[in-house]
Structure formats: C-alpha cells, structure tokens
Symmetry: none
Subunit: 152 residues, 2 copies
DNA sequence: TTGACTCCCATGAAATTCCATGCTACTCCA
DNA sequence: TGGAGTAGCATGGAATTTCATGGGAGTCAA
C-alpha cells in the first residue's frame, strides 16, 4: 500500500480551488479513489483527509443503520454529517468548503501533510507551530525516559 | 459503495416540494433506487431516509433477531406501516407527507444530513442544536479518555 | 368542477470542465 | 559535468454544465 508522505504547500485561488499534491493523488488513485473525503479535525486546527474506504470502514465498525438500536455512536453520525466527499477535477484540484477553511483559519494557501493512511490540511504557520511543539514534546519524553532506559 | 455524507439545506416550496441533494440522489441511483423510503424517527426529532434495499435488510434483521419478542415485532409493524416510499420526480424532488413534516416541526426549509448508509431530514435549527450537543458529549468523552490514552 | 398532484419548462446562481501558461525538476546527450 | 530539451505540475481564467427553485399547464379523482 502506498502511503501519504511528506508535505506540500499549494495556493488556493479565488474560486477556492487547490491542487491536491500529485503524489497524494496517485496514492488515492491506487486505492480506487477519484475523490477525497474531508472533515474538520476534532480540535479544529486542521482538516483531515482520507479516501472513501476509510469512511466505509468506520460505518462497518459502528454497524448498519438500525432505528431500534439506541447505541449507535452519535460521534460517528456527527462525523458523517460533517464530512464532505470532494471530487478531484481533471486538473487534480478540489474545492474545500468555506466553513472548513474558516475553522482551520486557512486563507490563500494551505499545507498538505502526509500521515500515512491519511493526510491533513493546515494553515502553513499553524502547521509549523504544531510541528515544533510536537518535536519538543518528543524530546522531553525522550529525555525523561533516558533516566530509566537507554534510548535506542 | 457510495455513502451519504455531508449536509445540505434546501427549501420546501408552497406545493411541498423539496430537492433531494444531487449527491444523495446519485448515491440512491447507484444502488438502483428511483425513490426514497422515509419514516419518522422514534424520538420524533427527525425523519429517517434510505433506499429500499436498506428497508429490506432491516426487515430481515428484525425477523432474524427474535421472532418471539412481541416488542420487536410490534416495532417492525409500526415501522413498515408508517414508512412511505416517495418517488423522486424528474427534477430530483420529493413531496414529504405533511404529518412527517409536522412531527419534526419542519417548515419552509429542511436539512439533509448524511449518515453513511442512510440520511436524515431535520428542521435546520434542531439539527444544529443536536449537533452541538453531540460534539460536546464527544469532547467530554475524549477529555476523559485522554487521562489514560493519548488522543490521536 | 374543484382540488390535489404530476409533469414540463424557465431562470439565475453556483459548481465543474476545458484550455492556456509558466515554472520546476528531471533526463539525456555532448 | 554542464546545458538544453522535455515532461509533469501547479495555477489562472473562460466557457459550459449542473442544480435548486419557481411558475404554469395538464391529469386524475372525488
């Protein structure tokens, strides 16, 4: 399976179009997708993106529709309603809904960050900040564990 | 398999017609439907909608579940009797029965919310409220589990 | 004959497709 | 190794199509 790796920054034109990085497009195509599914991340800092099969897997996990069952996951329903399937046009572009862009404070350009089986879309500076923070946390953790373990 | 994703708000004209979102129509068409099945949700807050094959699956499931359970059978009777199959007209519209609209307090416009293998029709404000509530609950749940797990 | 419902057409707005361009990275050959 | 040629990509704008929505004519039933 091909993975979403690396990061790419692309411009958003005035019609709201953005090129999905060619590498990501080919990963999507490999898994039979001609569209991407997007949904805002939980904390609202970024937009998550994946192929349709991820959503199908989720649906399978929560079970088929059953009006008599009360335990169907409400979170999953929220997710289904809040996500969008965006077709990738002939030039490899998508149009991200305005409310998603607003939630992640994206304007002008955005950063595509690979996450293996999915990817995220960020406001470039926000991504940088997040990255820095994550690295520091990793370092701190490493320093801490070094007192008991020997790091590899 | 295509899924019902995202949400759309459409107007109901004075003849009672509403456009089924084009995306939803194509999902229905993909599974061979030229009509939609509707039935009020148990709590009465919304209207459930799905393709005929989902109803068939549901019936099968109910039957297999517990043929001796009177409750279950009564539920099934009600469900099937109260459901309506609505034809989708040439312009992609349906006419929702008045009693269903009244039960969900829908007037003027309604919101179609994807749920994967089915979708729901809501009074827009009621949906928003429901969504907000579900998100808060999810947040609480997440915060709680964060003390043991690391969130994604 | 009246009322409800269906089918057909018109319209404006929005979304999608198509085409053109410039840049970058890579290849191939000297 | 360096330089020219080439192919792939991101990007911009224009043209075309789709879609939601409104109104009117035709149909069937009570």
């Amino acid at each position: 399976m091909a993975l979403f790796l690396s990061k790419y920054e692309n411009k958003i034109d005035k019609k709201g179009r953005v090129s999905v990085p060619a590498r990501f497009r080919s990963v999507l195509a490999d898994s039979g997708n001609s569209s991407v599914v997007l949904f805002s991340s939980f904390d609202g800092d970024s937009i998550n993106a994946c192929g349709m099969e991820v959503m199908e897997g989720l649906l399978e996990k929560i079970g088929a529709f059953d009006p008599f069952s009360e335990d169907r996951e409400a979170d999953a329903d929220v997710l289904m309603a809040e996500s969008v399937e965006l077709p990738i046009d002939g030039d490899g572009r998508i149009v991200i809904p305005l409310d998603m862009l607003a939630a992640a404070e994206i304007e002008g350009s955005c950063l595509f960050a690979g996450r293996g089986d999915s990817f995220q879309i960020w406001q470039p500076k926000a991504f940088e900040a997040r990255m820095k923070e994550a690295k520091e946390r990793a370092r701190a953790k490493r320093a801490k564990s070094a007192t008991t373990d020997r790091g590899a």
